[in-house]
Amino acid sequence: MTSWLNSARDTLRVLPVALIATTICLFAATALLYVTESQRRALLSATIRSSGWVAYQAQLEYVKSRAAMDSVVMVPSQNALDFLGLRLELLRSRLPLLYSSEEGRFLDEIAGVKSGVQAFEGEIDAFLDRLPLLPADRATADEVLSWIDALEPLGRTLQTALLTSVAYNDEIFRRERELAATPAIVPLMLLFVSGTCLALVLLVQARRDRVRLAAVQTARAAVAAMEENLRGVIEAVPACMAVIDPSDRRVRFVNSGGGAMIDASPDHPDWARLTDAAFAAARLEGAQWGTLALTFDTAEGAIISLRGSLCNVIWEGRPQILMVLADTTRVRDADLQLLQAAKLATLGEMATAIAHELNQPLAVIRMAVANAHRMLASDGERSLIAAKLDRVASQVDRAKRIIDQVRRYGRLPTGRPTRFSLRHAVELAVGFVAEQYRAFGIRLSIQLDIPADLMVTGEQTMFEQVIVNLLINARDAFEARTTPGRAPCVFVRARVAGDNAVIEVEDDAGGIDNEMMSRLFEPFSTSKPVEKGTGLGLSLARSVVRDMNGQITGENIAEGARFTVVLPIASAPSAQEAA
């Protein structure tokens, strides 16, 4: 079926070409035929008529010679003899024309008289040679009379030739009349055929054009409908969508969601600000734009969190960039509240450890004060008393540092990313749990191979909470399972790998259950007893790290579990930021 259709289609394609070729050939043939025909006709009529004229002339001269001979027979004078000589000369000159001229050869009947006529030519020549010698007398008249009889057959031959010629001419005239009545029927037929071919070509072509036009119109309508649909979808999506011209990064189109979030007019200056921020935040993944997350200060002074992507689209027939942003402010706020709750829970859990830490400086102060009192009572040296007071002051500073740390930790996260020293943040997080680890008898091995001025971008207290969470998880893991005969130990390492900083928190507490491993970062998945954990720690950790454009992974190693956080290193601040 398909092959039949294909062959039919091929035929349809070949047909117009064949028709055009045929038409051209027919036109050329018609023209050639017309030219040849007219040429032949002209030649034919000219020759036939000339041959008739030659026969007629010969016949005429014969009759005139015969008359001259008759006059010599009646009155044999010298004048009559001379006139006869002239006539015979003329007749002699006409005879060869009958068969030797182009016109004479044309008719076979005339060409056939050649031998007979040539015999008479000889006789006429011989008589013409003798004529000047003949005297003008009766004997000459008798000789001429007998010669008239001798020339009689020539007269009949010439008569026959003339008649033949006349008969031919009659036939030719008849044909010419016929031709005139039906002028050029063959060329006309040819013209008609070629005209029909041409008309067919035009018809086939017109049909094909109509089909093509219909296809093009359908396709155009489909494209228009699709664009209309796309526009409708973009309008309906409850997210901020904007079409950006890649050449000048100007916003060309804004949907209603974008209008509600920023401004309905693409020319609003906030759009340029948002576009710049989005391009700065977007990371190229291969040739495509990837996802992006950013915070944006609106003109009203609110800070909104946005998550989305940039992608290449064809818009109004041109390649443009579509920016899709979802307002995740509420999600982020909920995240922040959860994070805060998790932090406060941690803080509560650590209250005893914090109390112990505060008790240490207080205990020292209490002793130092007792000694100072004793010195005062015994009039001791002032410098020694002053030294005691210095010790008290330094212990107060120590207590203040502990309280500052707690206060820092309890502070509500702003959700606003800043550049901060990664090393300092890790040290603060480690410092926060160090006392607890000491209390639980877990050794902390810290190896930070990163410079203090290595910066990352994010919300610092939230990042610290990520590390604290990992360390508390490690601590709880030891509580659940300890390796006998070995001091529990947790390793915290940091290093630089290319453009990223890598932080590892590793324990040797036996590792994570396989069943747990697959949903490690899912919310509400926990291996801890209800009073110990919410099951949100790692889920929050992932969302915090993701907001920093980083990655967090967990794996089991030989003796325990290892969590790895990879963060992009922030580039040097621009002059604008530094200012």
Binding site: T352, A355, H356, E357, N359, Q360, L362, A363, V364, I365, R366, M367, A368, A370, N371, R374, R391, Q395, R438, A439, G441
Partner: protein
């Protein structure tokens, strides 16, 4: 007892140990200070037998309770007479007996109270010996 009483103070908080040592010295005691449990045990095993052993509960790497147990397992001649424990932690076991010590204090503590209690315990112990 004609000789001055002696005390071995074990606390990884060096400032605290030093202040307490100074206080006890000023009150006529011979004070020795160790900042780790192994150091303190080495002193005890070295034949110096203090009248009193005062230790912090949570000491890095080596627990105060372990130190007390180790000291209790020494030959009786090498054992201090009075065991005292201090802790900055809120501990579940709030009884001195739970740790096998004579006195238990929560930080911060007035050194006068420690001294008074130790002296009282010592005189009770001595009175008991005399009676016994």
């Amino acid at each position: 007892m004609s000789d001055a009483p002696s005390i071995l103070i074990c606390d990884d908080e060096a400032d605290l140990a030093a202040e307490l040592g100074e206080y006890m010295s000023a009150n006529g005691w011979i004070a020795m200070v160790a900042t780790s449990a192994p150091d303190a045990l080495a002193v005890l095993e070295g034949g110096v037998t203090p009248t009193c052993l005062l230790t912090d509960l949570r000491i890095a790497e080596y627990d105060g309770a372990e130190l007390v147990t180790a000291a209790r397992s020494l030959p009786p001649a090498l054992q201090p007479q009075i065991f005292v424990m201090m802790t900055g932690h809120v501990v579940d076991a709030s009884e001195a007996a739970d740790f096998g010590v004579d006195l238990l204090y929560l930080k911060p503590i007035d050194p006068d109270a420690i001294l008074g209690d130790i002296c009282a315990a010592l005189s009770r112990r001595n009175a008991g010996k005399v009676e016994g």
